[in-house]
């Protein structure tokens, strides 16, 4: 056990610090929250990737660097320290497509996802399918090539495609996304978990309508809503086999719950640092408690990423991490109120935004159900 950086890790940290100082100083900094952040998130992603600081642990084949997982902790810590935006929260999509997609799909889509040239969203939740995801009703129906005879497209059956109808909600990034990893029902006649399939659907086509929500803190660019009305997806863009969509969904929501994957630790660290630097005189106890909590999460992510060296499997434990992460964000939200009251628009926004953390990525209630039944074996 040694929490210190190895020589290689220290060299990486120095290089990152230098780059962040350069970006923050001469090259202009990126906004780290609000609509400005979402507008320029793609630019930030590409800058981070271009400088060699993103996709650190992912396969080289797809543009990663195959570094040990703990490098992501260094990234999170230094981003927080520099007041920079967090790393793009893409890990769960990379894991989902990486684990369930064919070699062909991985080669085609992972590099653009990782380097930030292609933007992605995730089409899971629906108005009637929130916590109970398997009840979703968006359909994808197979149609054989209905192109006119003599069309130049090949005519050997490869032009089979699915037509999508349905309504997806809480789809972050949907209005800037090029691609959607979509969960849809392909077989209505089998038990509901077995009738689902996953697809890579283009968001740049007719039959895709965006109707974003305004969040309660005023942000307009994050909380997407998408209507699919006859959008088309080639059959070879199905991820895994027909009926295997639930397995992919479970991989994704498992990773989506982990602060180690999301990099949110940097966001909370940055907020608490901002609050500390604004405080004159004695520190409110809410802020000190938020500081203790962010330190806990930072150290927790260090432990979790270290454990990955042993190949620890991702299971229901992600729900424990999601609860911890939620408490940290909401404690930091209360600290923002304690420091700024309601008159500072940025701090009020940080507080209001923090309330979503116990809903997004699976509500706290669902996380507790998972922990109680699958880890504690309490029955029910």
């Amino acid at each position: 056990m040694d929490y210190r950086d190895s020589p290689a890790e220290a060299e990486f940290r120095d290089r990152l610090r230098t780059w962040l100082a350069w970006r923050g100083g001469r090259a202009g900094s990126f906004p780290a929250s609000g609509d400005d952040y979402w507008r320029r998130q793609g630019e930030w992603h590409q800058a981070l990737y271009g400088a060699g600081f993103f996709g650190l642990s992912w396969p080289r084949e797809y543009g990663g660097q195959e570094l040990p997982p703990v490098y992501d902790v260094i990234l999170d810590e230094e981003l927080a320290r520099a007041g920079a935006p967090p790393r793009p929260s893409l890990g769960y999509l990379v894991q989902g497509l990486g684990r369930h997609g064919s070699a062909e799909l991985r080669r085609r889509f992972l590099p653009g996802m990782i380097d930030g040239t292609q933007r992605w969203c995730q089409g899971f939740s629906e108005p009637g399918a929130g916590s109970d995801l398997a009840s979703l009703t968006t359909t994808a129906t197979l149609v054989q090539g209905d192109r006119a005879p003599g069309d130049s497209a090949d005519d050997d059956g490869n032009d089979a495609e699915y037509v999508v109808h349905g309504h997806k909600i809480w789809t972050s990034y949907s209005d800037v996304a090029d691609w959607c990893l979509l969960l849809a029902r392909t077989d209505p006649d089998v038990p509901r978990h077995r009738g689902l399939s996953a697809f890579v659907v283009s968001m740049r086509q007719p039959g895709v309508e965006q109707r974003p929500f305004r969040m309660m803190n005023g942000i307009t660019t994050e909380f997407g809503q998408v209507l699919f009305d006859g959008a088309r997806v080639p059959a070879d863009q199905m991820v895994g086999a027909a009926g295997e969509g639930w397995a992919l969904a479970m991989t994704i929501v498992g990773h989506e719950r982990e602060p180690a994957e999301l990099g949110y630790s940097a966001r909370y660290g940055k907020l608490v640092r901002d609050l500390v630097s604004r405080t004159k005189g004695s520190t409110p106890t809410e802020l000190t408690w938020a500081y203790v909590q962010t330190e806990m999460l930072r150290l927790h992510v260090r432990r979790r990423l270290s454990e990955r060296l042993d190949g620890v499997a991702h299971g229901p434990e992600g729900s424990l991490d999601k609860l911890l992460m939620t408490w940290v964000e909401q404690t930091a939200g209360h600290a923002a109120l304690a420091v700024g009251g309601t008159r500072d628009p940025d701090l009020l926004s940080a507080y209001l935004y923090s309330r979503a953390q116990s809903v997004m990525g699976g509500t706290s209630q669902i996380q507790k159900n998972i922990i109680a039944s699958r880890i504690l074996r309490l029955g029910g």
């Binding site: 929490y3 000190t288 060296l309």
Partner: protein, 300 residues
């Protein structure tokens, strides 16, 4: 950067857990079983773990044993002698253990010989009359003189010793919380009402799920603090340990209170072990206490 325990550390933890499981009290009635306590005392003495620190073991090893001993409600001295050992390095050959005094009270006071730290000096004294306290597994006592100077304590050593004391008392709270959590989960799996086990109701299950998350968070802060005792400069080690102490104290209190609640009426009786864990947490929070106002949120 690697936050994992070594194989040897995991083996030490498992051995401590086995000993505590075999000879610690399994019920409130067991607390009065003098034969069991004598067997436990003999077994703990035979391990040599009270001398871990004087034998040069790191804060991580000491914290692992403290955590497992608290989880099993080990009711013979450990924290006192192991912290005394840090003040008397190379004293492992001395068969009779020492304990320490904190704010003029001897802790783990079934031991007669006491070390006190005052103004950079290490003083020797003896334990006197027992003092009232919450803990049913450990006793405190008055310190009686004459105080004799036994050595000097450098500022550096004093800082490291404080960090160790904060880390091991945090470990003690975490262990007790884990014991209380396990007790409550066992009960929730068998106690039935309305024809179903109470653990199957979300109103009971959710606080227990929260408890497990708090345990995981506590493990993460504590492990870093225990490592920092020997690896970081004393001011940084103390800071890490203060953060662990504040976090673990809040988490452990919540978990123990949940355990009492999940047990319902029986949880509020003397016969249920839940209050024995709760009392141990209260005592360890009060030893080397840390308040939020002492935490330095300084920007590094």
């Amino acid at each position: 950067m690697d936050a994992r325990l070594s194989t040897e550390q995991r083996e030490l933890r498992d051995a401590a857990a086995r000993l505590a499981g075999d000879l610690g009290p399994g019920s409130v009635r067991d607390l009065a079983d003098a034969d069991r306590i004598a067997r436990l005392e003999k077994a703990v003495a035979a391990t040599g773990w009270r001398a871990l620190r004087s034998d040069g073991a790191s804060g991580v090893e000491v914290a692992l044993v403290a955590e497992e001993f608290a989880r099993g409600l080990v009711d013979v001295p450990f924290l006192g002698p192991v912290l005394a050992g840090d003040l008397r390095p190379g004293d492992a050959g001395d068969a009779q253990p020492w304990t320490i005094s904190v704010r003029s009270e001897a802790i783990d006071a079934r031991i007669q010989r006491v070390l006190a730290v005052r103004d950079g000096q290490i003083l020797t004294a003896r334990t006197g009359a027992e003092l009232p306290g919450a803990d049913l597994t450990r006793v405190s006592a008055e310190v009686i003189g004459p105080l004799e100077v036994a050595g000097q304590l450098s500022g550096e050593h004093a800082g490291r010793w404080l960090a160790l004391a904060l880390a091991v008392t945090s470990a003690d709270m975490l262990g007790a919380a884990r014991g209380a959590q396990a007790l409550a989960c066992d009960y929730a799996r068998i106690r039935a009402q309305y024809g179903k086990t109470i653990g199957s109701y979300q109103a009971v299950a959710h606080p227990l799920a929260e408890g497990l998350a708090l345990i995981e968070g506590s493990v993460s802060v504590l492990r870093h603090a225990a490592w920092a005792v020997d690896a970081l400069a004393p001011p940084e080690a103390v800071r890490a340990a203060q953060i662990a102490k504040v976090y673990c104290a809040r988490a452990a209190l919540t978990i123990c209170e949940t355990s009492v609640q999940v047990h319902g009426g029986i949880g509020n009786t003397w016969e249920c072990l839940a209050h024995v864990y709760l009392r141990r947490v209260l005592a360890s929070a009060e030893l080397f206490p840390v308040g939020l106002e002492e935490i330095d949120c300084g920007l590094s």
